[in-house]
Amino acid sequence: MHPIFALLIGLVFGLGLCLSGMTAPTKVLGFLDVGGAWDPSLAFVMAGAIGVGFFFFRAARTRLAPPSHRLDPALVVGSALFGAGWGLVGFCPGPALAALAWGEPKALAFVAAMVAGTLLQRLLATLAGNDSHFGRRPGAAIEPSLRSAGACGA
């Protein structure tokens, strides 16, 4: 992948995140607060992204490994932990990285903690002798399913 192409993709993605409201934690928490004064705006982000994404990914299906349908405890537990963190602060990984631009100390701390969290997960998985999530080890066999939906961003 050419770095300039990657930069432009990141730029369009980042502009979309900013315009959509995903980079504003208060907006995100307003969307997640279904029990209070609910702001449904971010449902439109999902609708827009998946609505157009569906056709792109259909066209791209020969370029990608087939999507994985494998379910396991790590997927559910990991997603639950992620959801708790998202609900606590209102940042998910993309908007948190975009927020680095503002140099806000708390955003920097969030990103640092996020990186520490990924390293901690890797450490625990390695200690448990199960680092299959990190199929990028040289020579390691990579499950096709982990390559597609699994290795997010691989």
Binding site: L75, G85, A96
Partner: protein, 141 residues
Amino acid sequence: MSIDWQNFTPWASLAGGLMIGVAAGLLALRSGRILGVSGYVSGFFEFDDEWTARLALVAGLVLAPLLLGAVGAGAVPDLDAGWATVIAGGLLVGFGTRLASGCTSGHGVCGLSRLSLRSAVATGVFMAVAMATVFIIRHLA
């Protein structure tokens, strides 16, 4: 439940969502890659031949708010959470997305766009838990 009409921005959110879908879709179409930010975060320490490309994508992501700021658009996000909550939230997001191999972009946008059951379960779980977390903090605690 009541609707917060004052902060409701359906058109900006839809337009932003379309841009996100185009970015993820073009990346898949042109280079056969999944746009997954949690993967870029953990991949920062994996110095393989895609490292530069991942870093360039993140650079574009950080450049976007700067460009908007330069033309007087976009606002500095307001983080209400305290320091301890910010740190705890960051740890949970990093640990959880790595364990689940994806986040809002990889599972929520890319995975759902390609009708992956795995991503549908992940998205359902993190949305439900995030909503429950906000409910507990705002209405029970």
